[in-house]
């Protein structure tokens, strides 16, 4: 069966591993899990003390070695800003359990473009330690993460019942250690392989069978429209919701959780931009400056969390479920709704009582039979077949993952309305990326000490903006925009980007309608300008722009120029007209039918507040446009712009890299995009 050189050796006894550890510690910091007052934890050791083969899984996993709970990204003094990258000395984690190996492999994929992660992960060696018996509370077998390692390792230890130890190697670095330790000559025979396979089978057999897990996973991934017992109804999530205290324990201890927030800390003219672990269970995680909340109820947030862990789309994207069955969330959840409790509650009618998750009967921990690997466990043990890291929709990563903003000076400030201004920022020095920006793309605007936020470009170099500038039309709502509005002309800010997928600009001959609600006109303006600049003579387009009242109209000079432009049909409306308003009255969805008819539009683009987007999209469909021809700009609070921080994810998409512009057909596959609005009929959070 094995033709190539064996990828394992057998060590005579457990003491032989000590020589290996000395070799590992040579030139590296050696970390092992040790018992102590904290229970058990990763501890720096010399390698001289005996290895603890039975130490329990530490509550704090290995995540913090590569993605620490807080990490400085930038540091500044006055106007001098520098990126802060970690410079760890080489280290080795010895005794990583299979669940944590699977989690590290998962995060390796997730953070594949992140230099902070890469610096810490780069030279680190991982020495796995297979589990011989099921641990209390873990369920790795049910999520294909153990009890034997199936993920990447440099070396992997399996203590055999006869006292010997199988040492597998999974990388050149691992193999090199073997040479250093003088173990390369050790053998690995067919009978050793048989013993290893039998050991694996025994380990698997020690794991309880929990059929409810598979049932719950099927329900989580059931398509809408499937039968009632297959689909999880909203009420089930809302029953779980009140049990979530939003303590953030699950996300902090989860070895695959990766969401973070970015905070500026300032003291005496110097400061740091730091990223902290964040938690999607916090109400504030996705609350936007406007007050809109895509997941306003605790049950919505609980659902989003577990869909992220178990949703098929994420599993496909990252090669395995986001849960490795370590059981830490079940220990730390203050509301008793860790993974096992939730899966039991969601297993459907046969699962458990759904009325109160807390009174779900204790879970069946019966010993079950092995799933039958028929003794054919190869020491090479098949790596889970995973697709290469999905780069689809990860375009922004091609630019490299950077937090250092480009310096820009405020060149011009154009008042638009009482609380809206257009800022023309002059990049110093110019950055070609911005000149190539496409309509609907956004930038992260940064003011040191006040943080960063995402804004869509409102004028592009391709349609008249001066090269080397970034033009943003901004509505004042929160702390950052408040700080921006207080800055004078000539003040320095920072920009990163451009990010995301914008509006389609591939068919300038296509008659189109652009529908804007309030400040949504600013992002659409870029698309309109590009369309006008590129269209063949005679291509008609329509613009429908609505505001609350005449006071709130922005970009008035652009509106005036569109009014004059040939083959542009402009409809302006206000909801609450004053006596001076001689134009149309109502909301934009009242006028999209007319706009489509006048120009024969075959495409539409919409931008505005969430409730307006939904109403307008429906009106456009009624007027005869197909869902593939309607483009919607979704906006969420964002902290990185590069698909990592998690603040903008809606169902299985990160809006910053996969969007923020989607066709309505795509949006319909994102039930969360408008769920809060459809339910409440307004976009105010309760």
């Amino acid at each position: 069966m094995i033709e190539e050189a064996p990828r394992a050796v057998v060590l005579a006894d457990r003491a032989a591993v000590d020589g290996l550890r000395v070799a590992l510690a040579h030139g590296r910091k050696l970390f092992e899990v040790r018992r102590g007052e904290t229970g058990s934890e990763w501890t720096r050791v010399s390698g001289a003390e005996p290895f603890d083969w039975d130490v329990p899984l530490p509550l704090a996993g290995a995540k913090r070695f590569f993605f620490p709970a807080q990490e400085p990204l930038l540091r500044w003094h006055g106007e001098t800003v520098e990126e802060v990258l970690p410079t760890p000395s080489p280290f080795v984690l010895c005794g990583v359990r299979p669940c944590d190996l699977a989690a590290i492999a998962y995060q390796d994929r997730f953070f594949s473009a992140d230099p902070w992660y890469a610096r810490r992960r780069g030279d680190a060696l991982l020495v796995g330690l297979n589990c011989l018996v099921s641990c209390a509370g873990g369920f790795c077998r049910d999520v294909a993460a153990g009890p034997f390692a199936s993920a990447e390792f440099d070396l992997n230890l399996t203590p055999l019942p006869d006292g010997r130890v199988v040492l597998q190697f999974g990388s050149d670095a691992g193999r090199a250690i073997l040479d250093t330790a003088g173990l390369a000559a050790a053998s690995f025979t067919a009978s050793d392989q048989h013993v290893l396979a039998a050991t694996a089978a025994t380990a698997e057999a020690s794991c309880p069978t929990r059929p409810f897990i598979a049932r719950a996973l099927r329900r989580i991934n059931a398509r809408p429209g499937a039968s009632a017992e297959k689909v999880i109804i909203d009420a089930e999530w809302q029953t779980l919701g009140p049990a979530c205290f939003a303590c953030s324990g699950c996300t902090n201890l989860c070895p695959t959780c990766s969401c973070f927030t970015v905070v500026d800390q300032v003291h005496m003219g110097a400061g740091e931009r730091v990223r902290y672990w964040d938690s999607c269970l916090f109400e504030g995680f996705q609350r936007e400056a406007s007050g809109h909340h895509p997941a306003p109820r605790p049950g919505d947030r609980v659902r989003r969390f577990w869909e992220h862990k178990f949703g098929d789309e994420f599993t496909e994207r990252f090669g395995r479920p986001g849960c490795v069955g370590c059981g830490r969330c079940d220990v730390t959840c203050t509301g008793s709704i860790g993974a096992l409790k939730v899966l039991a509650a969601l297993a459907g009618p046969e699962g458990s009582n759904l009325v109160h998750p807390q009174i779900a009967p204790d879970l069946p921990f019966s010993k079950g039979a092995s799933r039958g690997e028929d003794g054919q466990v190869n020491p090479e043990r098949e790596r889970r077949s995973v697709s290469p890291p999905s780069l689809a929709g990860k375009g922004a990563r091609g630019l490299g993952f950077k937090f250092l903003p480009h310096r820009a000076l405020i060149a011009e400030i154009i008042p638009e309305s009482a609380d809206t201004r257009t800022f023309v920022l002059q990049l110093e020095p110019p950055v070609p990326d911005f000149d190539a920006a496409r309509p609907g793309q956004f930038v992260m605007l940064s003011i040191l000490g006040h943080g960063e936020a995402a804004f869509t470009l409102s004028r592009l170099a391709r349609a008249g903006a001066a090269p080397g500038t970034v033009v943003l039309t901004i509505h004042k709502v929160g702390a950052l925009t408040g700080a921006l509005f207080a800055l004078p002309r000539g003040a320095a800010v920072g920009v990163r980007g451009p990010f995301g997928h914008g509006f389609p600009d591939d068919d300038p001959a296509c008659p189109a309608v652009y529908v804007a609600g309030g400040c949504g006109l600013a992002p659409l303006k870029a698309a309109i300008d590009v369309h006008i600049a590129m269209r063949p003579v005679g291509t008609p387009l329509a613009i429908v722009s609505g505001t609350r009242d005449a006071e709130a109209r922005i970009l008035r000079s652009a509106l005036a120029s569109w009014q004059q432009a040939s083959n542009v049909h402009l409809i302006e409306c206000v909801e609450r007209p004053d006596s001076d308003w001689g134009g149309r009255v109502g909301v934009v969805s009242d006028y999209v039918g007319e706009a489509i008819a006048v120009v024969g539009a075959r495409r539409a683009a919409i931008c505005g507040p969430p409730a307006m987007l939904l109403a307008t999209a429906e009106a456009l469909c009624r007027a005869g446009l197909g869902p593939e021809a309607i483009y919607v700009a979704l906006e969420r609070s964002m902290k990185c712009g590069m698909g990592e921080c998690g603040h903008c994810y809606v169902n299985h998409h990160y809006l910053c890299t996969d969007g923020p512009v989607f066709s309505l057909a795509e949006v319909r596959r994102l039930p969360d995009a408008f769920a809060a609005i459809e339910r409440t009929g307004s976009h105010a959070s309760p």
Partner: protein
């Protein structure tokens, strides 16, 4: 880049969770829960998970500050200590020994608190020492020491696991004592009954089998009604009453005045729910009663506590596993601050200052003449300051400007002082009023102990050095005592702990190594072999027999009327702690703040055309606050509620300082207000 984890005790509420502080290169970078810890068992609340944030916050005070004109300016320790000693001396020269006062700190260690009370009594020669227990559980101490002989939780948090019924009164446990709340939900999950008595529909109430949503301030009629029902049906524990209690007959006679029709009318709780609650509670042997500030912060706070004590005694629920009467203390070390005698009338271990034998013992140990007359409470000190009788005050780590009732008055009192000395982590609203500010070490930067709500004394460990020149509170006090010519002689936290255990019988058997063996010991622990006491009053109550004391209903001091038609109550949020000086430095906690902080029932909101998020003005006879509304049926019609954490919208501008006559607790839980919608935006909720 080696991370070290130091096991210590959470600095927030009094649950006393174990936590590991992760330290890298002298900087605290994270927190982890302790799986083996008997109380927290691998869990932490949102505050605990963010305990590292305030420690490493750049706004920490690092040098002493002194007032020059309107400004507080950095000075040397030498200058500040000399000035503070001179101010204390001058005040006492002018007004006598009692012209000074010390406010100790429920967040500081036992060692700090013992040093503070010794400093007041032995160095300054005054019993004017108090701390914020005055405004949380002073009625528990006053009430339970009368009925049982000890003011602390009779049982342990772990007893929740053995209880078959939980009766939770005036406690929003899942938010304020989250890890105890978590245990309660686990108990509920395994089948224990849960009864919640609270005017607000709390998270716990949502999970309860029975929620008695009484009117504000009607606890005594409700509890007396339950007692009346119990006696009427014969559900009382007769043998327990005979063997373990006294004055049962007078109680029986007194509660006969509380027939259910009357109680229903006063409390608005349906009679059948009262009967059901009484039956369940009385007939379940392991019934764990927990209560919190909903009981204590009333003009009848002590009587409320006594009423609950009557209920627990009549049904035989004191002195057994899985039951008891359990006040959930507020701050991490408020139990310890009381135990240490940071109170005007007692030394450590509740030994009275007017007891000659106790006084002689302390006087001998300290080689000092000690004053006999009990000192002033914190609010009395403020009154004395306004009257000019108290001229210099030393405040350790408390922020009365935000936390005490009737904020304007507090500020006036502090301004009236000749000299205000504050020891603080941050420049709080109170520190801003000070003449001298000393920078304090945080829990992560000093050795010591905290005593949790279940009387568990646990170690606090130094994980990193204090920032700049900050010092532990006891070190500042020691330095001051030297300047005043009466050195206390403390060179290490262990010295203080050793002196304290020698003078404090309930702590006598404790040493740091013993405390480190198994996450602490529960007092009383009278000798080195004693395993600690998870359950008090087992064979007999501390005072002998359990004393039943009839109490009658007292109306709230201020009732709604035409001008102020709504009742305001105060509460706390899961994500904030006290005045927010620590929690508001944590960005994730700060982000969780609701947009508005006045909770109002949909009916009351609709009547005033108020919608969620709308700016509102709240007025009482004492002041007004502008904030935003949160429309929610968590509060019943006629009641509005505000958390008190936010200095931008301080609920204590509105609250009433009418006092409970026995404990001097102000009535923070109920006053009359009016609420109006506003068009002008309130000040944004942002940290200091």
């Amino acid at each position: 880049m080696t991370v070290q984890t130091i096991a210590t005790t959470c600095p927030f509420c009094a649950v006393g969770c174990g936590m590991g502080l992760e330290v890298e290169e002298g900087r605290v970078i994270g927190v982890q829960p302790l799986r083996e810890h008997p109380v927290s068992r691998g869990q932490l609340c949102a505050k605990g998970w963010n305990a590292d944030k305030f420690v490493s916050h750049p706004a920490r005070l690092t040098v002493p500050l002194m007032r020059r004109g309107r400004q507080l300016e950095p000075v040397s320790w030498e200058t500040a200590l000399t000035a503070a000693a001179n101010a204390l001396r001058a005040a006492q020269r002018e007004g006598g020994a009692d012209a000074v006062g010390v406010i100790s700190c429920a967040r500081a260690t036992n060692e700090d608190n013992f040093a503070a009370m010794k400093f007041a009594r032995a160095v300054l020669g005054t019993n004017n020492v108090d701390h914020c227990a005055r405004i949380c559980h002073a009625p528990s101490v006053a009430g339970l020491s009368r009925t049982l002989g000890s003011g602390a939780m009779t049982n342990s948090i772990g007893d929740i696991d053995h209880a078959d019924l939980l009766l939770v009164v005036g406690s929003d446990t899942t938010e304020n004592h989250a890890i105890i709340g978590a245990r309660m939900l686990q108990a509920k999950a395994r089948g224990a009954r849960l009864i919640v008595i609270d005017p607000r529909r709390t998270r716990l109430a949502e999970f309860a089998d029975l929620h008695l949503q009484l009117r504000l301030g009607t606890d005594i009629p409700l509890i007396n009604g339950m007692l009346h029902t119990i006696f009427t049906h014969g559900w009382e524990d007769r043998s327990y009453l005979v063997d373990r209690c006294e004055h049962a007959d007078s109680l029986r006679a007194a509660v006969a005045d509380f027939p259910l029709e009357r109680v229903e009318r006063i409390t608005r709780v349906p009679a059948r729910d009262i009967v059901e609650a009484a039956r369940w509670y009385a007939t379940t042997p392991r019934a764990f009663l927990a209560y919190c500030l909903g009981i204590t912060q009333h003009v009848c706070g002590t009587d409320n506590v006594i009423a609950l004590s009557n209920l627990a005694l009549v049904t035989g629920h004191v002195g057994i596993d899985g039951a008891g009467i359990n006040p959930l203390r507020g701050q991490n070390n408020v139990q310890g601050a009381c135990d240490m005698g940071a109170l005007p009338d007692v030394y450590s271990g509740y030994q009275r200052v007017d007891d000659a034998a106790a006084r002689a013992r302390f006087a001998r140990a300290w080689e000092a003449d000690l004053p006999e007359r009990p000192g002033l409470t914190s609010l009395a000190m403020q009154h004395a300051a306004k009257e000019g009788a108290l001229c210099c005050m030393l405040i350790l780590g408390e922020d009365p400007v935000v936390t005490d009732p009737t904020q304007h008055e507090v500020q006036r009192a502090l301004e009236a002082l000749d000299c205000l000395i504050v020891v603080e982590l941050f420049l709080t609203d109170t520190a801003r009023c000070a003449d001298i500010v000393f920078p304090a070490a945080s829990f992560a930067e000093k050795e010591g102990t905290f005593t949790s709500t279940e009387r568990r004394v646990q170690r606090v460990r130094r994980a990193l050095p204090p920032p700049g020149e900050a010092r532990a509170d006891w070190q500042t006090l020691e330095a001051l005592s030297e300047r005043l010519g009466r050195p206390m002689g403390f060179a290490a936290a262990t010295h203080i702990f050793a002196e304290m255990t020698q003078l404090t019988p309930i702590y006598a058997g404790m040493t740091y190594p013993r405390l480190e063996e198994q996450f602490g010991l529960q007092w009383p622990c009278p000798d080195r072999q004693h395993p600690g006491t998870p359950v008090l009053h087992r064979e007999r109550c501390t005072r002998g027999k359990g004393r039943l004391i009839p109490v009658v209903d007292t109306l709230p001091d201020e009732l709604p009327d035409g001008e102020y038609p709504l009742q305001l109550t105060t509460f706390r949020l899961h994500f904030q702690y006290g005045s927010g000086s620590m929690t508001r430095r944590a960005p994730l906690l700060e982000r969780e703040n609701p947009r508005g902080i006045l909770w109002i029932n949909p009916a009351d909101a609709a009547a005033r055309a108020i919608t969620s998020g709308m700016p509102v003005r709240v007025r009482s006879r004492r002041g007004e606050v502008r904030t935003r509304a949160v429309v929610s049926d968590q509060v019943p019609p006629g009641v509005v509620a505000m958390p008190y954490h936010f200095h931008e919208a301080p609920s204590n501008l509105l609250t009433n300082n009418a006092l409970d006559p026995l404990s001097k607790m102000p009535e923070l839980k109920v006053c009359a207000v009016t609420v109006e919608p506003q068009t002008v935006e309130p000040q944004a909720v942002e940290p200091q």
